[in-house]
């Protein structure tokens, strides 16, 4: 699988350092599951974290820290071991980080209608207006044309979509900022399922879509 569109590097760095808010982190964790090149970049960034923690000025421990740590280890050994997941616990479409949020595979999810041709499932609502959701666009249909008041990342999980900026397939991430106005439409053949993260409400071009926007949180 060749992935042509990657998320912005600075999000990958912030995720590796542990500074990234949950909704964006979900996007990055899902993308690095599908993209080995970004995954390696993450490993490199984490190696810097490793080096920095090695070079931090150490703090004195209490006298019994080691003994207390061993006590925790002993306690946990007595608890039942969590069972390893089997193949059927995973999904073909949703990488594991995402599956942890949906709790079920795509066909078993309570999809909610979003406009005429799409469905969605909100997943994470962040403190600063970030929103992560699954979006399902019916094959051959488009979402209403919109601009952005912030950043919108859209990653394809199955099917594909096209807009003014190209065609996006599984693993690809489209980054749309304030200066982008687009109208993604699912390619024919199958529904397009995406993970979408935004940090501000969208700006729909058509008055009808704007009216509709009042009733759903997008």
């Amino acid at each position: 699988m060749i992935i042509n569109y990657h998320p912005p590097e600075d999000l990958l760095f912030a995720y590796s350092a542990g500074d990234l808010a949950e909704a964006w982190s979900l996007m990055i964790a899902t993308h690095v599951s599908l993209c080995s090149s970004c995954r390696h970049q993450m490993f490199d960034a984490e190696a810097i974290g490793g080096s920095l923690i090695e070079n931090i000025t150490p703090e004195l421990l209490e006298n019994d820290t080691y003994e207390k740590t061993l006590a925790i280890v002993k306690n946990e050994e007595q608890l039942a071991k969590p069972e390893l997941l089997s193949q059927s616990d995973y999904s073909d479409v949703l990488p594991y980080p995402l599956l942890q949020y949906t709790g079920a595979d795509i066909d078993d999810l309570p999809w909610k209608r979003l406009g005429k041709d799409a469905f969605h499932i909100p997943l994470v609502k962040g403190r600063n207006g970030e929103l992560a959701r699954l979006l399902r666009i019916q094959e051959g249909k488009a979402v209403p044309e919109h601009g952005h008041n912030g950043t919108e990342l859209t990653m394809v999980l199955s099917g594909s979509f096209s807009d003014e900026n190209g065609q996006f397939v599984r693993g690809d991430v489209e980054t749309a900022d304030i200066d982008v106005i687009h109208q993604p439409s699912a390619d024919a053949g199958e529904d397009c399922i995406c993970l979408v993260v935004t940090d501000a409400p969208l700006e729909f071009t058509s008055p009808l879509a704007r009216l509709f926007q009042r009733f759903v949180n997008i």
């Binding site: 080995s36 490993f43 920095l52 740590t69 925790i72 997941l85 990488p95």
Partner: protein, 220 residues
């Protein structure tokens, strides 16, 4: 580990010889330690590997003695009190023991692996948010390119050389790297604190990574 103290006798005169002798002894004592660190750094990845492979308690103890005070310092960067940091350090180190079997020295240095455990626990505790993380057993994971033995050597070299490269960074790049990794703050907050445009912070971080990567790449 106690460092020999340098004791200088304040009474110069009859005690001068004694004082000089003690200076010499102290230096002689210190030297081999310094040499050892410079030429023969401990390969923590091997030590952690022994914990992973055979549950070596002595190996775990030495990992603990080296890393636990650092993990505590990393946690205390978030202004929490020492008691909380103590408990979290115990938690992190117990996870190190429990998950040691998952550690793969061909993929990451011991310090990197321990960093990720401490980082994730810090997020759980202080931000009260979940940390979405990839699962190494996920069948939908894009396969890694094959890891050759040269890559393993490179991974270890990288860990050893990384320190030097970070120190060589221009101070303004090192500063944003430190803030980003040590303190749990977003790029926007870093920009705010340093009174810089957000774009400058992002580009400093990007440049720092690029620079480190380039100089490590040239090693091969």
């Amino acid at each position: 580990m106690t460092r020999p103290e340098l004791s200088i006798n304040p009474y110069i005169g009859s005690d001068l010889l004694k004082s000089l002798t003690s200076l010499w002894i102290n230096q002689a004592l210190q030297k081999p330690i310094q040499n050892k660190q410079a030429t023969d750094p401990i390969d923590w990845s091997n030590v952690l590997g022994r914990v992973a492979d055979v549950g070596d308690v002595e190996a775990f103890k030495s990992i603990f003695e080296y890393f636990a005070p650092r993990v505590k310092a990393y946690i205390m960067r978030l202004d929490c009190d020492s008691l909380v940091a103590e408990e979290l350090t115990q938690e992190v180190m117990s996870i190190v023991w429990r998950k040691a079997k998952q550690y793969d020295s061909s993929k990451a240095a011991a310090s990197t692996w321990i960093f990720t455990i401490a980082r994730n626990l810090r997020i759980d505790t202080f931000r009260k948010e979940k940390r979405p993380d990839l699962d190494p057993y996920d069948p939908s994971l894009a396969p890694d390119p094959d890891i050759s033995s040269e890559d393993v050597v490179f991974a270890k070299q990288k860990a050893a050389r990384l320190n030097t490269e970070i120190r060589k960074l221009p101070s303004e790049q090192r500063q944003v790297l430190h803030m980003s990794f040590y303190d749990d703050i977003s790029h926007a907050e870093i920009a705010n604190q340093l009174n810089l445009p957000l774009g400058t912070v992002k580009s400093r971080i990007r440049l720092a990574f690029q620079r480190i990567k380039n100089s490590l790449g040239e090693e091969l």
